[in-house]
Symmetry: C2
Subunit: 468 residues, 2 copies
């Protein structure tokens, strides 16, 4: 397929490109076999076009990244930076004839300091690897996307990813103190600080967090750490309606509680989990809420939150007595996406975040949309943040169902905006939502964002076709 | 003085400017009396040049701000945005013939939501006013600069200001979720979100925080709030050397403690406080450390931290038993700046933030610099953050002492950079440190920052001469 697409002159261009790359990279860091490079074409999103890379490079040093960017700029070749490609919006998808710049080999943890409460890492470090490494020093790196055993810190920075912990500990952005970035022309720029505070000049660090590889290549990150909190204790509460569960979420947050996790699974998700595992969840459950506390006295906090759940109409409240029981209660949540995938073989995961007080309206709206399009749509939500993941289940081999899936996915984003929310709480825009970004930001916002892109990437070579 | 400076043609220009402003602003919102406008020339920084404004405007609505900016752009008149002018780096100082755009009349709290844990405010709201208003809802707005009874939220956003609470709760930046900004050409742009999470596009919100009015005029801010924590309990520890106190700071942070305040006063500051108030501080104190906890069991936390202070060589450890005693212990810290001002009549307050582990080197270096320049320099520090405020005391009527004060101030910044720190932890760059910004950011960083400025302010009218 690639052979038929690339014409002879293109081959010459690619040959020249590879030669130039090899002038500054070892042979094993430059992959050209089309079968191999094709395996780097996609992240984990559905419905996102992906092109065929001309070459995949796997640099191990900052200098090698600089060489790649200089070469790309000279030859006007687009560059698509990649971490572990666990993204859900096509943000890491290749474009035709691009250089895929995989940062996975730059995977060293350079420093962990308990006094400064920082870690300094290369972008290819796996989230779980960092988390475990800092745990050994009594420290905690909170951001915990579902893919944490696979995804890289560089990818997390690119998408500003979140996770279950955000309701208490915030998203990746809050933990990035400073960056080393290779710019589009190959120059190296440092942003931010390694001190606890610092306000010298514009906050370019935060500009790069969530920029999806479109402004520069992150080659080093200084991350803030926290002291390791006590082991969390979990409570599960069942509700006879989604509205009652959402009411409980509002009561908990209004009550001044700070759970370390506050997750919601709707009826569809509970049924899907029951279908693949015997978790003992009653089929009559219309919504399941999971709350956790990692405070000095989590049992007392769980008791208070349990009472609020009951006041909101919970039919059953089950607090865990210990870590093992807590882990059991969380398993249903962890299985949710796998379970929803099993429904029809393919899923499309929305990422709409709404104000907490509109969570009930969001769930009601998703149910309406599922009915309208005759689809199964399960909702897991980081409920404490109002961040819902309506997950459209469909058979990718059925063109009509696929079309309905895509349409319902978009309608869910429209609903999110209507409720005062955002099209993406933590997954990013990528190619999947780029038509939607303009609707959220408005024309002035988009224009300013495009101009900033122009400042950092005047040739338009960095991850083209994403975001805008 | 103003009469002699402005020539006749200039008067015509100013007359035209005032007429144009009055087309969209009520008469009482446009101040032209030179005696009055001159009173808007300065913030609270020493050694910062200030010009004479052509006019001061006090808009009350977004539309009026838009009218001011459109007028300024058409007539090419510089605009200096101002809050309460409590800044310490000259960032709000007028330039000659500028429009001073004071946001102090836009002072409405538009919304406080306990469920969403947000407040929506206009920029002129006083920090203390907001803090007290959210307290009534059981909520907490942490940023607490020393000037909190006077300074505005808009000014806090402009300088990304901090305070005593930052060691646990972070700086202003962490609490700004979204902004409405009037751009240099008068267009209105919304950034960010009012949801707990959101990653749609580049983070323009954070770009504006700390931009010192150089990118646009903040006319509305959505702020994150926290549940009100328990009343904090304070401990004071005296040390026979600054090095021992800094060692205690490192032990406390390395030990995984999360104090709500961790402040240090050096010998010079303790003596200055003794000179103006009878606080019972022993004259032999070489350094005083204040730690506080607002945890569920603050006494237990204070006991643990007290033991660490003793292990580091504290000569006396005094934990407060209740809120009243805690407040007494904090009074010495609150009096510090007033006390240091009383030494010679004028002070220059540095704002160097270093890695915690270099705090001892910083204090030692400041003492060396004080000796070299034959000056009194007292250090208060937000020690838990490594954020020091070396305060140079001098007689502004003595030219030689003034020169030495300025030189020592700069040498302290050089020392901070040498120790891996930043020239400003929370006060901003303004005009006072603009030569130093380039040293910290390096040429590539400065170039990218200038280009971002160019995007938002192509005519260079927004707070010219600041930052760069």
């Amino acid at each position: 397929m690639i052979m038929s697409r690339i014409e002879a002159p293109r081959d010459e261009v690619t040959g020249n490109l590879v030669d130039r790359l090899l002038a500054g990279l070892p042979a094993e860091a430059v992959l050209t076999d089309p079968d191999v490079t094709a395996s780097y074409a996609n992240d984990m999103a559905s419905f996102c076009p992906a092109g065929a890379p001309a070459v995949v490079v796997l640099p191990r040093t900052v200098e090698q990244v600089q060489h790649v960017m200089r070469t790309a700029a000279e030859l006007r070749v687009p560059v698509v930076p990649q971490g572990a490609r666990t993204g859900l919006s096509g943000g890491a998808n290749a474009t035709d004839d691009c250089i895929v710049l995989s940062l996975t080999k730059m995977d060293r943890i350079l420093e962990i300091s308990p006094v400064e409460r920082i870690a300094v890492v290369e972008p290819g470090v796996i989230n779980a690897t960092l988390s475990r490494a800092v745990n050994e020093h009594g420290l905690y790196y909170p951001p915990d996307p579902s893919s944490w055993e696979m995804c890289t810190i560089g990818g997390n920075i690119g998408t500003a990813s979140g996770g279950l912990c955000c309701v208490k500990y915030g998203v990746t952005a809050e933990y990035v103190l400073g960056l080393d970035v290779v710019l589009a022309d190959g120059r190296l720029m440092s942003t931010g600080k390694r001190t606890a505070k610092g306000v010298a000049g514009y906050d370019l660090t935060r500009l790069f967090v969530g920029s999806e590889g479109s402004l520069g290549i992150v080659v080093k990150a200084t991350l803030a750490l926290r002291p390791q909190p006590p082991q969390q204790l979990v409570l599960a509460a069942e509700f006879a309606s989604a509205a009652a569960a959402c009411d409980a979420v509002c009561r908990i947050m209004e009550g001044g509680h700070v759970p370390s996790l506050l997750e919601l699974m709707d009826r569809t998700t509970v049924k899907a989990v029951n279908a693949i595992a015997n978790m003992g969840l009653p089929e009559t459950t219309e919504a399941l809420l999971l709350a956790a506390f990692d405070t000095p006295d989590p049992a007392a906090d769980l008791a208070a939150v349990g009472a609020l759940c009951e006041a909101a109409g919970a039919t059953q409240v089950v607090p865990a007595d210990d870590a093992a029981e807590s882990e059991l209660l969380l398993q249903a949540r962890r299985l949710s996406l796998t379970a929803l995938e099993a429904v029809k073989g393919t899923t499309m995961i929305d990422d709409v975040c709404v104000p907490r007080s509109r969570l009930g309206d969001m769930l009601e709206g998703v149910e309406r949309i599922a009915g309208k399009y005759d689809l199964t749509i399960g909702v897991c939500a980081h409920a404490g943040d109002g961040n819902t993941h309506p997950t459209v289940c469909f058979d990718a081999a059925d063109p009509d169902e696929s079309r309905r899936a895509r349409e319902s996915f978009d309608e869910i984003m429209a609903l999110g905006l209507e409720l005062g929310g955002t099209i993406t709480g933590e997954h990013g825009v990528g190619v999947l939502k780029k038509e939607w970004l303009a609707r959220e930001l408005g024309p002035v916002g988009v224009e300013m964002q495009r101009q900033i892109k122009q400042v950092f990437d005047p040739l338009g070579l960095l991850n083209p076709g994403k975001l805008f």
